[in-house]
Subunit: 341 residues, 6 copies
């Protein structure tokens, strides 16, 4: 069991039931979500001690959110409660067939965005910790969060932690230009950079060839070049890229690649009937961090992370509620979906 800390916002997720559109829904299903929270949940599910550094409002919605973190086994020690700021919310309408899922963010003014960077004592928080993870969403939340993210990454490197960073570009939070200017300096403190099939182009300006994402067409081999450019330009030891081929909102193909000291590795490719794809990238990050903390080899770790995130697509909610045994069963070749009695 290793010890990990992640840093970021956790929001209330309000999703329409079934495949209802916002305009017709009369109920929302409540869960809690956030990229870095999802990674913490994955790490806890895989047997590690994981905590989320975040700030929650001091009201009953914050209480419920904190309860769910505890429910899924996340160590609550770095969750601060604050009287200023609200609970961030995101509204989700699940797509199907040719209709995309739709997310309406309502996260401005949330408690974490109002917390000063100086309020985190990273060196103390990293004592005895093995791994630190955050994503490009956290610095996008505002200047205080951006400053805190930079400090956290530096403090983590100084303290000898392994660090991972998922680029996770969100166009509604900041522009590509600001994202690039903010993220690039951070990469110096990152051991493992993670991106999806679009992120490198959006934030780092590195494009894959023969790829048209809106048509669901991806040339998987061309991402070796993307990974190598990232490695060379920023000096990160490892680069992992998830590769979603979106045939429709219902049918996705899912795989990933990993470039490390061992070379370039391409995972198997799953064809998935999607139940809920939100959080799959985070499930990949959580799987990869867990696999590496467990000492798996490169290809094995990659396959573990891809299998973990493949399973996420079948589970409602952002969090990847799976066990290590379930992931190993799939990465070991049994994707037949036969009933387990």
């Amino acid at each position: 069991m290793a010890v990990a800390v992640t840093f970021g916002e956790i929001m209330m997720r309000l999703a329409t039931p079934g495949h209802q559109r916002f305009v017709q829904a009369t109920e929302f299903e409540i869960s809690y979500a956030g990229a870095e929270a999802s990674v913490a949940v994955s790490l806890a599910a895989f047997g590690h001690q994981a905590s989320l550094a975040t700030v929650l409002p001091n009201n009953p919605l914050g209480d419920a959110c904190l309860g769910w973190l505890r429910y899924y086994g996340v160590d609550p020690r770095h969750v601060r409660r604050s009287d200023t700021g609200r609970m961030g919310v995101y509204f989700l309408e699940a797509g199907a067939a040719q209709r995309p899922s739709k997310v309406v963010y309502d996260r401005a003014g949330s408690a974490i965005t109002l917390a000063p960077a100086a309020s985190y004592d990273w060196p103390a928080m990293f004592d005895g910790v093995d791994w630190f993870h955050t994503t490009g969403i956290t610095p996008a939340l505002g200047p205080a969060c951006a400053e805190a993210t930079a400090s956290a990454l530096k403090a983590a490197k100084t303290a000898g932690l392994q660090t991972s960073f998922d680029i996770n570009y969100r166009g509604n939070l900041w522009s590509k230009e600001v994202a690039q200017k903010t993220v690039e300096p951070m990469l110096a403190s990152v051991d493992l950079v993670i991106a999806n099939e679009q992120d490198a182009a959006d934030v780092l300006g590195i494009h894959a060839e023969k790829t048209d994402i809106s048509k669901g067409q991806i040339d998987r081999q061309s991402y070796e070049g993307v990974a190598r450019q990232i490695q060379e330009r920023y000096g990160c030891a490892k680069v992992a890229i998830t590769l979603r081929e979106s045939e429709s909102a219902t049918i996705n193909h899912w795989s990933a690649c990993l470039l490390d000291a061992d070379g370039f590795h391409l995972s198997q490719r799953y064809t998935i009937h999607v139940v809920d794809r939100v959080g799959a990238g985070d499930a990949f990050c959580g799987g990869m961090a867990s696999a590496l903390l467990d000492g798996m080899g490169s290809q094995e770790a990659l396959e573990f992370a891809v299998a973990a995130s493949c399973l996420k697509h079948s589970i409602p909610g952002d969090f990847n509620k799976v066990t290590k045994a379930e992931v190993l069963r799939l990465s070991g070749g049994d994707g037949s979906g036969r009933v387990v009695r």
Copy 2:
């Protein structure tokens, strides 16, 4: 923004949740539905002023129905309330895989069927109106409705409106023979005839070659012949035919063709994982009317109508709750279903 009127019954739709059969359901989901109401909702969603000419019972169920029309932006001015007659109901059990969806109609004695033809003052209602739409269901509801439909179409032509008519054959409302005798004279007043892959055979006796619908096999090219025969026999300026290839209740292929002064146009063909296919034909009618009112060219209008109705398959309920931007995005080529944030 153009102005449109549609004419027909609106019913309460009571659907079993999930894929439950009638025999096991303990709840029904309530919505409101009807071919011509759906077309009005589509036109309103695409920015036009649309009203539905209909009759609703003067009870709380009628109140709710009227509320939903207003909810979806339909102009309520031509909804009459009556103390005689009931709210028509249809019960829906959603199929899946090899099991078809099942509809139980309970619409006899509904308010609209008891309203005399003379109670509609079409010339007054058509003042300032651009488009009139109705379907073969309305005249099938009884003699008064049939007479009113014929009068409406004539009055519309006289007043210079564009008219569209969806054949929409319902075997449980009338026989093919009566349908043919009733519908054929009406077509003289119709500019745009719309049919599905079966209607022309059922009502007009015009068959497509190499087509076996119960096996999901359709020869798309052969429908040019069907369209040309309709055009020649009834003198309609435009003929549009939707082409459903039903592989199973879950997997459908969907496309359409249009014959007009410009020639014969065949749309792209979508493969769809069906959420709810009821109302797709009406979504096509609404899309086509809107596209033509907006002045789109033939192929563009056809692709707009097919994309609109493709999206309908992903939405619970009869009404096509989409925006023009969403349709254009799909007809423009993005059917990848990637999350919109």
Copy 3:
């Protein structure tokens, strides 16, 4: 209308809604289930008089269970109520995509397991009865149930009933060795042995060639050999084997074969988008028994049973809530899933 008796446990089934995992569910959907109860429901649905010999606890849960048997037309005369023993329960989490469905059994100490074998008066119960069916689950429930099963089969043969036995191996109830030792002597009293693609290997040690079930690969022809070995070794007049090719929890291919005096018959093969696959094997048994009681020929009976169980995959709950007309429509070739109005 023939008369049939089945013998086995009926449990409360508590299923998470949608595709929720156990860990996130806050509600269970209640239904009642059990292999032999499902067969009785199928027979009743197809027009036969069917009763289930079982024991239910004398509490409100037992009342509800009995109500549902009556609801689905099962003759309740052989349902005994007991003050000792509980209602067996099974918890179900429905899988999707690469994630398998998961069953947690909680059936120890149920009322039927505590009823002595001597408490069933089989000769009296079989008076005027045409068919007796049970499965390998019943003897696995404990010594009293095993003894009662053996007695029932012998009494049925003596009374001139047709008997069917579905091997239905459950690894969590007993070992393969005990299963084999218990089941093999029973087969002497069985006219129709039914197995799935794994059962013969698990319980009888008879393996199909070129088959890797966890990869969803099945060589359908090789099951002729399996069937012939069963027939030869145990002297059963008929052997039917269902053949599930599980591509994922969502996509299954489904077919079956039958060996009888007429020779070896292989059914058509359906590709199914799964709604709920639990109970499909029992739907096959029920379909086969009904078809044979109705006097259908071998291939026709096989196709009826496969079509019936194909439809089961589209229906929530274990019971196969279909009519004979619906099955014949599918076995007759219409699997297009077009709406029935």
Copy 4:
């Protein structure tokens, strides 16, 4: 165990959840309901063999309805299926506080109303039967039903059954004048007349003194006069009257009186927090019939019937899902509502 037959319509009941008004509901809860069906369910729950003579449409809604009758233990032998006529429906909005519950009937054209009176062979149906019950709703459904009701009552008397008739006036089905003219002649064949606090005034023109129902004020003693007038005028052996004092939709006081050869009996009076009061009168009828069939004395039978119907107010749905032991516990004095473990 005695044998009873009841005669009347059974409808689908569609109720808004919670205390929602029709105008805001997006779901209906489905159950099945009807005065005479409720009495049959009560009798079956209390251990008698009870059947409902009725006609159901030959569609899946009729199948479900029949299933529920079987579920609650009603003998289905006198349920006829018909291809003409629909399933009657009633919509229910549950009131609260000062807001009354609201019922919208949609029962015109239901299967039972279209069945000719000659289609019932009452002498055959009454063979071996002890009790016959119907209500003033059945003759109100139309001429054929009125004729059938009169024939049934006469046939029952001829065959030596005990007969009970609940006046059950429904102003939306017929006028007071027609009701009086139709019901009065029937009373000659009735042993036990049942009425609520309004019925005698509405249908028979017999008024209680000092009573203003819309204010919830009832003079319980004055109903002795009402009962005596009914007895004298129509010669019925027994007259029972339920006495609802409706303080609000939430708070009701509930009692009843019985006049028989033994004299006039007044029951205890319960103050009830109402969950669902629909069907309480029928629960009284069922309780009274059961108690008399069981040979209870007058006061005991009255208290049993009042306690049974008191409990009905706490149960969702029309049917009174209670056991004899539960009723006896309450009539025996324990209304404390302490948890039963």
Copy 5:
């Protein structure tokens, strides 16, 4: 039919189901709510033309909100859509017994608060309008809203409208001091001031004698003094005060008083089993405005408004979904809650 305009924010209301606490809820029921929107809905329900002046965000949540206004018959002409600002939200946990309901507001930064005061053209909006209503919540939303409220009231007086203002003090939006300083000058333009039993004390510093609200004790007569002081100090023609005696979250007593040229009027007092009390004050305002627009006398109008708001307590959601006939029935004396068939 008169014409009315109200001005204020409309929010999304997210309520836990049943009596669940926030911390245990996994679903929210969605509706839309706001004091001034509720008044507009009441006026529309009572047959007037009512519009709400407000600003909604230009996203699907705003679309849904607008749909519901139309659904309940509110004229949407003064609803502006904006690309800046979010949809205000309030979270509701319904109390019971001794546990109070709890509201968590999340309305900061909503679209209406970001709209400049100059963006409303009141003189144009008041053309042909009879009544203007707003509440103390609107100016509490921020400086722009406060300025717009003052302008609106002045413009309304100038244009000859009748004006009403509900003090509606919300301690979480502003302090009593700021409220007093802001509200007092506005009262010069107000014809009808409405307050609840606390507002006058909180905002105007005018206290009722012998009243301890937290114990549910109110001296109804002492409010005559409160009303007279308001009238004298601010010169308003009419003062109405609602008087809630809260025995518990479940049991409330509800009445009101009105002071006008006619003198002081005290209404009847209802004892209510509460379903949902949020919005009752607004239902009173809507009832009062409607009654006065309809020309009712003082006592009659007061009783109408109290009966309307009494009924609101029985209905889930903020809006008072009742008809004029239902209110008149209650104010006319029938509060028995007997089923309406």
Copy 6:
């Protein structure tokens, strides 16, 4: 913040929705419950560190249960997972009015009952702990549990903890005689004995005068005698007795008394409209332990415990999800249930 340990079983609670009876329910609401778990939740909610010593099965149902303990802030360190034994279940049907709630236990063979007494190392577990609580349910679960309970109480006294014991007699688990023989010797190690109005009579043979519980009649003063006898006979420092006067399942009166060195204290008495009364006794125990750990005086502690458990009646589920501030507000006199904004 003090440290507390409780010991006992935690079960899955499956409750019918609304006021549905078991026989009509098609869904169960899932929560987790148990007397000692509830006390731990209360202590955690009031700010103490509380852990539950228990044993859970090693399956997904056990995972979910453990998650909920963490959710509500219970320290999970003493929850053991076991491969033998099942999850205990209790089924709940919520009563209303005169109909009592009904509990069906299905807890035989649960994991905790199969754990040997020696598997608990109480001295180690009590290191640094201030308070130990258990109830009469734990020893009733079987010999191993009885032995473990006795050891735990002795070890707690030895280690200097304060101990509390709620008699909590369950007639379906053991007879009064066995209960008395088992419980009496334990009381020597108990500082605070808690009982409800029946327990002392059932288990200790000490009866209150002038009390008939099934009629809801309690003579509150007579419980001083009961408390004094318990104190004298067993030498417990403190005796607390809860006093439920059950008028109906909906209306309860609730109070308690405490006898300690200070004398006899009687609390205020609340009249409650019950939402869910299960767990109220445990809420009292948790409130009392918390109050005493916080150093409150006798009357103050008693009022705190009574107010806490009064609030529990308004909350669905066994656990008392309230804060200390909410309890103090009620015990301080505000039970008006006015909305908190």
